[in-house]
Symmetry: C2
Subunit: 426 residues, 2 copies
Amino acid sequence: MKTYLYPKLAEWAALTQRPVQKLDQLRTGVQQTFDLVQQNGDAALVELAAKFDKATLQSVWVTEEEVAAAIPQVSEELKEAIELAYNNIKRFHEAQREPVQQVETMAGVTCWRKSVGIQKVGLYIPGGSAPLFSTLLMLGIPAQIAGCREIILSTPPSAHGSINATILYTANRLGIKRILKAGGAQAIAAMAFGTETVPAVDKIFGPGNQYVTAAKQMVTQMGVAIDMPAGPSEVLVIADDTADANFVAADLLSQAEHGPDSQVVFVTNSENQLKNVQAAVADQVAKLPRQTVAEQALNNSIGIVVNTLDEALAFSNLYAPEHLILSVEAPEVLAEGVTQAGSVFMGHFSPESVGDYASGTNHTLPTNGYARNYSGVSLDSFVKKITFQQLTREGLERIGPAVETMAEAEGLHAHKNAVTIRLNKI
Amino acid sequence: MKTYLYPKLAEWAALTQRPVQKLDQLRTGVQQTFDLVQQNGDAALVELAAKFDKATLQSVWVTEEEVAAAIPQVSEELKEAIELAYNNIKRFHEAQREPVQQVETMAGVTCWRKSVGIQKVGLYIPGGSAPLFSTLLMLGIPAQIAGCREIILSTPPSAHGSINATILYTANRLGIKRILKAGGAQAIAAMAFGTETVPAVDKIFGPGNQYVTAAKQMVTQMGVAIDMPAGPSEVLVIADDTADANFVAADLLSQAEHGPDSQVVFVTNSENQLKNVQAAVADQVAKLPRQTVAEQALNNSIGIVVNTLDEALAFSNLYAPEHLILSVEAPEVLAEGVTQAGSVFMGHFSPESVGDYASGTNHTLPTNGYARNYSGVSLDSFVKKITFQQLTREGLERIGPAVETMAEAEGLHAHKNAVTIRLNKI
């Protein structure tokens, strides 16, 4: 951890820099994958699964038998934990439903908006060492609540051509029937453009490696929406002297273990606390199974001592972290001033991992400084908000002259005439 | 207007096609503009205003004197019309405020989300023949309500170096102080990257020509958010025999006058109504100042006769129009089934132009089929929704074991440890 004692304001911007993502150089390769999937459809997915996943697929789709066989493989303890998380996430996201509210903006002019589920969505869940069933919960639950008509899950197969049992269990719990055995850019291509068996979706969600990130970025220029731009995961912890250094160290390490490019930032108003946390990190990291990964991330991490907690918060707002942990005595006070962050964890008993799994908030959050201008995934991400308006005859009489005047001033006479022709008839 | 009588379902998809936008070929030129603005800042804006707007600028910023001089140039009638629109738009968008709602997802685990204004936003308003002060209202009002700290307006100067008086009047009414005299890709570059006097913004809103559209698309890959992807404006009108053919024709023409690439679609369950509307269009278009533009758009427009209003709605949902007008006897019934549209105008007395100017709904809406997967601009577009969570000691005891189990199952031991280390201490 590189440490900075009382950096000057002019130095702050440099400390908030993220590593530059070099996605441009991947575009040519990703475009080749796109072309292959567009030309050969499912056959391309089978070919690419053999190439990248070393899997021989009979079908690109998971069968009912595979799902049925997976269910008993998941321990009862894990099933109960998933159930608890499911209920909390569902409760929090159901509270995000926006009731239809009719607003009579003036007598006889009524406007409202209505949320309608995006019809077809694709959820991408990466494979690899950790089966991210928690991400499936985070995406599948709001998709369900939104009433999306078609939900496609795509995740890469193992070398045996199988999908992780907990992923299948979770998909089944969510009522997701269509599970595609595809990873990487080919999964994004299949969902964006469709194949003979995969429907083209309207919006694609989920994390992934740099090929997935580049592919998602590219399909946004081809009519498909995505959840948000992606970058390495991040945490910023603000701690004062009331924080337990071991708790803080554990929080920093839970971010560091994600990957060597994870961003870990520690800000405190206490030099002493910085020393304690550094010692606790050194102690705990040695015991982690993912020690090597965490150490690489820690090499790029920074620890900053500032004069006051207000300064710490100002730094955090400039950094715009994906996760912000307020390990301070009065987190409520500090939280009031948060202007740029994905999700905020308040006090000493709210570690990031509770939000990653089970508290109810969504863990798909803006990284890479995008907390400046994007929200995390929520029910909003799975709906379109359609506006409606209905005027009575009298309403049109009342509003019409203003519309005529404005249309005239903008030089749009046909716009004006659409009102005039009605007013003349009334 | 090309007409199609009872097209088969298999033919529908072809009828919903939009013209392909060829933005890729503009990228090189736009990148050159980006480079110039990044290298030379305001001097580049002055240079490009001379080149493209034929304007000699003393400063790239509008002065207080210019604003003061503009105010008396706007007629009292127009000021009153703007005031009426302002109040309606404000009322509708204020109703979109989301109150903070604390959800105790389980005992001791409290989650909520809070909307915080995006700190710095840029509003682009095109110049040209029509000064779109209505768009400035549609963007400026929600930006104000959201509490965006810095609002930059950019709009191209006339050859005299001036900005349209109504635009200045409206900006002043909205409390927008920083008005940049820049158009085209250079305006987007200035707001995205900043110059010595222009602050780099977090999100850019507003319509524009193909260079502006390409530039906005490009900056989304550079850390800046935009309102939504853009395409030519569209209307789809569904009418039955109760509709007045002259009203429908006026609505179709108010779309057609926008530009030669405007998309105009008419769907009816009555062959007779199609004939009447065609006759009314022919009659009205001859009287329009923008007759040539409207006629070009009409050449590409389509009129479709289907068997039932339900079929008409199904076609509309597939088309996903920016504006949908339901000129039918019972619009409430049809409106229930709308799944893909930007904004819906119900009944015979709700022409699109009331929504374009003054009813209260936003007129910045998804075009080009993006009503499948994007919402129109609303208060949501100007805020980030930050989630918060706070656990009590007991809350962590209750949720902790599930988090430990799930983290373990995902192979993320440091995530587990952040809980364990706390539970051990409690």
